[in-house]
């Protein structure tokens, strides 16, 4: 007999709960990430951003949370894929010739395509990690990443890496497009997570829905503005 804990997390609602909890964690992570990234907009040649990047790379608590973050991204992707496969097989091979709905909810289109949106986000994350995180962590100093002197301390110059990427037109285009995809994913995901954990209440659900919509527009917009500003400054 399998343990109740295993049975719970492999049940339909258990898997949905995993998606909701990891999703909510990633929503919080995005906000912190954005707060850091906005320092790129200081016109100080990257001093503030490089100090921040150095702090994030060496703070033991941040390092622990970042390990959790990687684990949650993977868990969200794996459980999401399992759900997608199961849901497709539950539908059966014979589809409808005509399909119509009385639903007026605007996020139904995104809700049906969360896995596809998620795959695009996952590919973006891989490219994103290879380009910045892997360079900082495993890159050769002098070849992949240079050092910069800030108040007598030698720190890796992440700002320079970002500057190269964000002044490259095709990359800026790809980055902004990826943020739009994240916005669509969040538009459904944010409020769906609350419904899944059972938070549906006449007083609070409208608030959650409003916050979800505001978040899914503002946060990806905040991320997208940075490469656009860099590109315009450069040009």
């Amino acid at each position: 007999m399998k343990s109740w804990f295993f049975r719970f997390f492999t049940s339909s609602i258990g898997k949905k709960l995993l998606m909701a909890l990891t999703g909510l964690f990633l929503i919080l992570f995005l906000m912190v990430h954005l707060a850091g990234n906005l320092q790129l907009l200081y016109n100080d040649g990257g001093v503030a951003f490089n100090v921040y990047a150095d702090f994030m790379a060496h703070n033991p608590l941040i390092q622990l949370v970042s390990k959790g973050n990687f684990a949650f991204i993977l868990l969200h992707a794996i459980v999401g894929t399992v759900l997608w496969v199961r849901n497709r097989s539950a539908r059966g091979s014979q589809g409808y010739a005509v399909q119509k709905t009385k639903a007026t909810q605007t996020n139904a289109g995104f809700a049906k395509n969360m896995w596809y949106l998620g795959v695009i986000v996952f590919v973006f994350i891989i490219i994103h990690l290879l380009q910045f995180w892997a360079m900082m962590k495993f890159g050769d100093v002098g070849a992949d990443v240079n050092l910069v002197d800030i108040d007598g301390k030698q720190v890796k110059n992440l700002y320079a890496l970002v500057e190269v990427a964000f002044t490259n037109m095709p990359f800026v285009f790809f980055y902004v497009l990826s943020m739009a995809v994240i916005a669509f994913h969040l538009w459904h995901g944010f409020q769906s997570a609350f419904q899944t954990i059972g938070w549906n209440h006449p007083k609070y659900t409208p608030v959650v829905q409003f916050l979800g919509k505001a978040y899914s527009v503002l946060v990806p917009l905040g991320f997208a503005v940075i490469p656009i500003v860099f590109y315009l400054r450069h040009a």
């Binding site: 609602i13 539950a90 409808y96 119509k100 059972g198």
Partner: protein, 290 residues
């Protein structure tokens, strides 16, 4: 006094029913068939035909002459009568009470379970919501857990097995006066009653892109868990019913809410949130370890 029937047919959509009827009474010699002709409509039907569970199935087209006061199922009766009289196999479809309370009728009509009207079953749908010459596509409910048995009839016994797993109260609840002796708040009683309105037709599964049965299960769980008589077995009930739901091969809710939109009893997805709360809470707090 002569009445130009052609004119009346042409205007029948605009003239109130009593005026149309009046024109019949004006001419007492007018035969009944004329009255029927007033509301006559020709429909083109594209119906899913499938000999048995193993057959691949295909669409076949039929023409039927009906009238706009018929219910959708009466129109299919007319079609079957003509098929039978010409030695052809009638179209198999599920029906029983024909007054919207048994949950037996099904059908996906022009892409919508129970057809285009909100909050009604197929048997409550009338042809006045269609127009003369319209093409209507009729398909069975589609889901792996609802295999097609023949034509438009699907096997919904998976729902019965979910109910058997725990959708009942096994304690002695006494007679009606005993029920009235237990105080239940009006708002709670109303919520429970709204959930109890579920007739278990399976339209939620048919509408769901994931073929999830969570609206059905959540309605049954909510209906009982909200009331004092149902609370006693609530933890075991929700775990057993969800386990059975998973075993039957239904999909998992993505909060798309297509189920709520198509439900003939307008069961709210608020119940799904309650199902999640009940299941998560029961799994972590029940004293049964396995």
């Amino acid at each position: 006094m002569m009445v130009d029937n052609k004119l009346i047919i042409g205007l029948s959509g605009f003239i109130p029913v009593h005026i149309n009827l009046l024109s019949t009474f004006i001419n007492p010699y007018q035969p009944l068939s004329t009255l029927i002709n007033l509301y006559k409509m020709k429909l083109n039907l594209k119906i899913w035909r499938q000999k048995n569970a193993k057959d691949n199935g295909r669409f076949e087209t039929y023409q039927v002459v009906a009238n706009e006061h018929m219910s959708f199922l009466e129109m299919l009766d007319v079609l079957n009568e003509s098929l039978t009289s010409s030695q052809k196999e009638p179209v198999a479809f599920d029906h029983d009470c024909r007054e919207g309370i048994c949950g037996t009728c099904s059908l996906v009509i022009n892409g919508q379970p129970h057809g285009p009207m909100g909050g009604t079953t197929t048997c409550q749908l009338h042809l006045r919501h269609f127009h003369d010459g319209q093409t209507i596509v009729i398909e069975p409910f589609r889901a792996r857990a609802f295999p097609v048995l023949k034509d438009l009839v699907v096997d919904r016994s998976a729902f019965d097995r979910i109910i058997q797993a725990g959708g009942y109260v096994s304690i002695d609840t006494g007679q009606a006066p005993d029920g009235n002796a237990i105080p239940v708040g009006k708002d709670v009683a109303s919520k429970s009653f709204d959930a109890a309105a579920c007739i278990g037709c399976g339209a939620c599964v048919a509408a769901c892109p994931n073929s999830s049965a969570m609206l059905f299960v959540s309605a049954k769980v909510s209906h009982l868990a909200l009331l004092p008589q149902g609370k006693i077995e609530a933890k075991k009930r929700v775990m057993d019913m969800v386990n059975q739901m998973d075993e039957e091969g239904f999909g998992m809710c993505s909060n798309i809410t297509a189920c709520e939109a198509e439900c003939p009893k307008q069961i709210s997805v608020e119940n799904i949130a309650r199902l999640n709360r009940e299941f998560i809470g029961s799994s972590f707090t029940s004293t049964e370890k396995a």
